[in-house]
Amino acid sequence: MRAVLSSEWLKIRSVRSTYLILCLGLSTVLIGLTIALAAAGTYDAVSPEQQAGARIADLEEVLIVVPQLCMGILGILVITSEYATGLIRTSLALVPRRWPVLMAKATVVGALSLLVGALAVFGTYLVAGSVLGERFSGAYTAAFEDRLPLLITLTLTVPTFALLGLGLGALLRSAAAATAIVVGLVYVIPIIINNVPEPWSERLGSLMISALPRQITGDLITTSVYGSLLPPPVAAAVMVGYAFIPLVIATWLIRQKDA
């Protein structure tokens, strides 16, 4: 397994697309800085009465889709690029048990996306906090310990997307199809579910990936466009399911199917 791991680590390090994706994922912090500066400027320009009513969303939560989608796509590419070229046949021939190939990819992509997720989430939080200070009724002056659970949970959604992408990529063997599903889970399906009659809109909405972090930490907000019906352990289990169910099915299938 260590041999396969070192091979997969070199594979991901030796193509330029990886670095491009990592940069895009980390650009979250810059985007957060830009928004925070703009928000601070707007805030400072209005009357004290307007300032008192001004609110700002948590930037690290709003921007989490950037590292989520970037690392989801990295997960997709590390497997579908091999199917596209036929390199997968060589990879599987060199490791006849096959499953270590997928597990090594999962380890490498999972670790990288955990790092990118942490840098993006905590970086955005720190940058936005230092720019905004006491503005917006002290949105960014709440005690760090109180924010920590949500920041950690948001960070963990990034490897969730990476593993989801890897699993879907391995199952579908197509970057386009897997990307459509990952993007669909973030943008398309929630919109459809939002238009489903109640109570199903809220029931299904609670299962959406983007709805999970606040259900896991219990920091529910009334303005959520999703549902919030799940108790924290169930929400956590659903997130684990997103990360691992496609991957486990893919690992089982890669041993059975013709390569």
Binding site: A3, K11, L94, P96
Partner: protein, 254 residues
């Protein structure tokens, strides 16, 4: 590699590919049909047949990339999937284009080698041997088909295996490269390795191979030495044409 008298007996006995009633169906298509033959060490075995005859499928089945419908392919007496470090026993070039175009030649070989505990020194050695040392750090997307064939051959040789399979390695090579492959194949066989080589270039095959296996529609048509075939027919090409008449077919129309 010269073996002197008194050297321990070589591993030669174990370098062998055996197909036992190998059959592969894809739906109603029979790609390989009850195919049995042995590929022995010490000489190049040419693997001939029209397009769609099942040559590539046979090689994939031997590497356990596809699962046979029935029968089995054995390498050195064992199923390929039972090998823990397969690169050290079997090397194969199935498709020279099966490379990530963004990765350089050196990293490509090292990625493959590392899975079987093969490192930098052997990779550098092989790049030198196949004549790619000068472009080792160039991305393979810019390689010609001939250069990719050389890269694929280097990959097959990484583990210094006793059994080698090459699917159409001559495609895309310049005359220099064609001669290089011919000499390489013959010297690999002379070292006591088992070499299975598929090609459509009859004149080239006549110069390179000593034994010939001809398949058509997934079935074994002939298994003979090149000299046997050329005594009965004017040339290997005439032998091939005569033997494969009626076996030329594309796709699955049966």
């Amino acid at each position: 590699m010269v073996r002197r008298a008194g050297d321990p007996p070589p591993r030669i006995l174990y370098h062998v590919i055996e197909l036992h009633h190998l059959t592969k169906r894809y739906g109603s298509t029979v790609a390989v049909d009850d195919l049995s033959f042995r590929v022995e060490p010490g000489h190049v075995t040419g693997f001939l047949g029209p397009n769609g005859a099942g040559k590539s499928t046979t090689m994939r089945l031997t590497l356990d990339l596809d699962a046979p419908t029935s029968g089995q392919a054995l390498v050195n007496g064992r199923r390929y999937s039972a090998l823990r470090q397969p690169m050290r026993e079997v090397g194969a070039l199935l498709d020279a284009d099966a490379v990530h175009s963004g990765r350089n030649a050196y990293d490509h070989l090292l990625c493959l080698g590392r899975t079987n505990g093969i490192g930098v020194r052997r990779v550098t050695e092989l790049l030198e041997q196949v004549g790619l040392a000068g472009v080792a750090r160039k991305r393979v997307g810019g390689f010609s088909l001939g250069m990719k064939q050389r890269l694929g051959i280097a990959a097959a040789l990484l583990g210094d295996p006793g059994v080698l399979m090459f699917d159409e390695p001559v495609n895309g090579l310049d005359p220099d490269g064609v001669r290089w492959i011919r000499d390489l194949m013959r010297s690999l066989a002379a070292e006591g390795r088992t070499v299975l080589l598929s090609s459509h270039l009859m004149s080239e095959m006549a110069l390179t191979a000593e034994r010939i296996v001809i398949v058509g529609r997934g079935k074994l048509i002939a298994e003979a030495t090149v000299s046997e075939l050329t005594t009965h027919y004017p040339s290997l090409e005439d032998a091939y044409m005569a033997l494969t008449t009626g076996s030329v077919q594309y796709g699955a129309a049966r």
